[in-house]
Subunit: 504 residues, 2 copies
């Protein structure tokens, strides 16, 4: 059975059901799972574990690459099966449990989880659940649509359960590039000097003795659901492309730019779509996630090569990519996330990184994670890995939200994920602020004039003017710096009329 | 004249006075200067420029490696000669001008200045003033007690003024290791895999045509003035050494630890002094600054090798180092700051970084720069370069300051230089909080129990308890989160009695 996918003979006898696999997971252990931005995740074992937990209570620490698809995190949270969760999630149900303090969430730079695990501070990983397309003769496994932390988990876990996904064509073999940095003090150089450079092997080495079961599945990845460009995202993309053109005119970039990283979401998608209808050419990506627009650019001959850790696309794109995988393999590679997000490579290649902010402050600090400064949205993900070391670190956001009841440019962000030191450019639909090599007071002027929403601009200006009277490198009025956020919490709006009601 | 120090024959005719050199600096230009943590700085040309500016007004953008010695930044600020200053300073006079908004200060990661300059966004550098011990036959220069950004400035500046410092022995030749990473998209790998590895050349290549003048000086570096260990710093060092021993027992470290980085100051000095009387051996450093204690460890045979960008020591140590430079050259190397502080190398070597915080919050965010969230102290320096990529990122601070009127553990820091994602361990004289792989609510408990000062502990606990009732991943009460800071500003104390006065 499945001898085309299980080439190691002894392993052919290890087929088990998802329920049997879930039964092997013990209470109070650390479990690793493949899965990065919804792709290549555990499709049946983790859901079966959630099912089991509803009648056989248990709690685990679950470590993944990044987010899982199919609402699996929500199933696990509902079943109270998660004690601790890292390094990233996007699930609305799990999010509630995290914010209630029921699940301990460690919000971690995606490049760092494998390093942290290797260092041995974290409790030992008992079982890893790894989706694979194929098990080679030597027991090594060929992953599917993501690599994430699977290579590290395969090394570190005591036992391994394979989810063999037969919906993924065998021809994905060759898509992946598996490289290990090793342990201190013998950590190796990551020798990537171009996005298209392969430095490792195509499968993840696995000790066949560790494989305690193989579960067959044909469930596909959750399809990405990317909102079509709207007026705001199109305007943001427009400002950004204009900025790139300006940089080219100044001789600081060429029409091939530098390797791009783009966070998932509609703004990033709009920017990449904007590149499609432009004079830019011979583009490359060194990113986390390859999305629809990446493949559009490849198909249009605009993009030569894209390196990532996962393919997260909409349903028709999955179909097309699998159908034409041999062609795409010449243009893409999937790497472990400690390589796709490595500080070393990001700095060396001079990546242009484009990520979305929840809110920004007038001095260029960015909140990517905490709504109202307290409630977790998703997590920092790879945004910090890229923003810190990028050649150009760009954050995009709409100027205001919820019918303008929220200004996304605020006096001070109540949670800092990316500090003023790490943010080069901020773009909203109103305009772009190039903050490079400016002092904080200069940045504030640009942020207010270019990025703020017209409705909030005068109030930001008032705040800034008054703060400057109190002095400092970064003028602030701490006694009222979060008045806008407090008012929003109390009244549902940051708008000034509510803040200072007219007296009749 | 000086033919032993000026080996390029044509350059022997370029001797000028400091005043003549200062006269070559034009208004509204960008000037680079050697100097890193007070060493290897311009001793006569910048002071002469300050002098000139008092009667012949001009303003420049001054870029250095890091801080200058001899109060030079203060002289320049007093003479209103600084329009813009980057990337770091420690001068009380300049600090005042910065905080008044008179000097535009760009507080930058020390690793990034050279990258930013190479990218061409910043206005072109007109003149670089570089201290050297020696000019070689080919015009290349051998730096003195620091490398800083001198290698980059030599490449990027249109013109170069050399300050030839004859108080520095010629035998420093061989101490430095100059390596260029090059420009995007052909940025090179930095191949350092051990602290003692040399990857470049011993002198900084300089086009002799660019040298417009050579000024002779014999002024020595400002001596470092390091306070002796006191009860608090000794306690902090004790906690840290106990922690290292615990990590060794757990098998996560060996008695050689991993390469150390230590910020300048009395705590770092105490820790290194603590290592002197311990069982640790075969230690190494991969740091910015080599200070007195580094040389004590080398002399004691405890430290095999130390890599840095400058030697910043007290007067007797300068004397001893210069006297025995041939011996020390086997144990130390000075590198450009984009190499000493390179993310790539710090991560690869697994550096243990120890830096000082102005204040920390209960969730592990660190303020290194802004007093009261607004007023610049020194700058982030290299602390972010190291903290982000270190194997262990440690911050130390006293639990309280100014007769306990300031708690240095606060509900929220009003400026974030190092976010919760980047901080592993926080130590005060009260104890150590190991924050690795903990969720924010878990971190808060440790910070309050282990690090806070007894006087503030119950109030932090009250804040945290109340905040938890409002929920969230990182519970906060934004409407009163900065009450302690505001009260300190208004009354000179954060103490609770003042906050809620008894009613008689
Ligand atoms: C920051 C991030 C959440 C933005 O994603 P997005 O889909 O553009 O988010 P939105 O702008 O729709 O905002 C999400 C929600 O928060 C709300 N929100 C945003 N800012 C808010 C604020 N300041 N106060 C209150 N609510 C706010 C929005 O209104 C929206 O609520 P809704 O779902 O009820 O409409 C997302 O990009 C992210 O998780 N980033 C971190 C990880 C990352 O950058 N990874 C990089 C590579 S993938
Ligand atoms: C953070 C840093 C300023 C601490 O240095 P330090 O010498 O230990 O500083 P101190 O604890 O003496 O504090 C400096 C002053 O600020 C005051 N201060 C500290 N925290 C304060 C607070 N929360 N509110 C008000 N004042 C505060 C202190 O009382 C002291 O004032 P004083 O000079 O009037 O006594 C210093 O380490 C630094 O500049 N770090 C950033 C750069 C860096 O880390 N480089 C790394 C490698 S060198």
């Amino acid at each position: 059975m499945y001898s085309d996918r299980i080439k190691h003979p002894a392993l052919q006898h290890k087929l088990i059901t998802a329920q049997e696999a879930a039964g092997m997971i013990r209470n109070n252990t650390v479990v690793g799972s493949s899965g990065f931005t919804q792709s290549g995740d555990s499709k049946v074992v983790l859901p079966a574990l959630a099912e089991r937990a509803t009648h056989d209570p248990l709690q685990i620490t679950l470590i993944t690459g990044a987010s899982l698809g199919h609402g699996t995190d929500g199933l696990l949270a509902n079943a109270h099966a998660l004690h601790r969760r890292l390094p990233f999630q996007v699930d609305p149900v799990l999010r509630k449990s995290i914010n209630k303090g029921e699940v301990l969430f460690i919000d971690q730079h995606l490049s760092e989880t494998a390093e942290q695990l290797k260092s041995g501070h974290f409790p030992h990983m008992d079982i890893a659940i790894l989706e694979a397309a194929l098990i080679e003769e030597d027991g090594s496994i060929v992953p599917t649509t993501s690599v994430g932390n699977s290579a590290a988990f395969a090394q570190l876990a005591d036992k391994i359960i394979i989810e063999l996904n037969i919906s993924v064509p065998l021809s994905v073999n060759g898509l992946h590039d598996i490289f290990y940095t090793g342990n201190f003090p013998n950590h190796r150089i990551i020798p990537v000097t171009r996005p298209d450079m392969r430095i490792g092997r195509t499968s993840i080495p696995v000790d066949p003795e560790k494989i305690i079961g193989i579960v067959i599945t044909d469930i596909q990845d959750s399809a990405a659901d990317i909102a079509a460009p709207d007026a705001a995202t199109t305007a943001i993309a427009g400002h950004l492309l204009e900025f790139f053109n300006y940089e080219i005119k100044k001789g600081r970039l060429t029409q091939s730019l530098l390797p791009l990283q783009a966070g998932i979401g509609k703004v990033a998608n709009s920017v990449l779509t904007g590149l499609l209808n432009s004079d830019f050419h011979d583009l490359t990506m060194y990113s986390e996630v390859l999305q629809d627009s990446t493949f559009d650019l490849i198909d249009a001959g605009k993009m030569l090569f894209a390196s990532g850790s996962s393919i997260t696309v909409s349903a028709p794109y999955y179909e097309k990519i699998f159908r034409e995988i041999e062609r795409y393999k010449k243009h893409i590679v999937l790497r472990p996330q400690d390589i796709s997000n490595a500080a070393e490579v990001i700095r060396r290649l001079g990546v242009i990184s484009i990520n979305t902010a929840l809110e920004c402050d007038i001095y260029g600090n960015v909140n990517s994670t905490h709504i109202g400064g307290t409630h977790m949205m998703n997590g920092i993900g790879g945004s910090g890995d890229f923003a810190r070391n990028a050649y150009l670190s760009i954050f995009v956001t709409s100027a205001a939200g919820k019918n303008n009841d929220i200004s996304r440019i605020v006096p001070m962000v109540p949670h800092v994920d990316h500090s003023e030191h790490d943010v080069d450019v901020i773009v909203t639909e109103n305009g772009l602020a190039d903050l490079r090599n400016l002092a904080p007071r200069e940045r504030a002027k640009l942020m207010i004039a270019h990025c703020a929403h017209a409705e909030y601009r005068p109030h930001l200006q008032d705040y800034f003017t008054e703060a400057c009277q109190a002095g400092g490198q970064t003028p602030h009025l701490l006694h009222k710096v979060f008045d806008w956020h407090t008012q929003y919490k109390n009244t549902g709006s940051m708008k000034k009329e509510v803040l200072e009601p007219e007296i009749y």
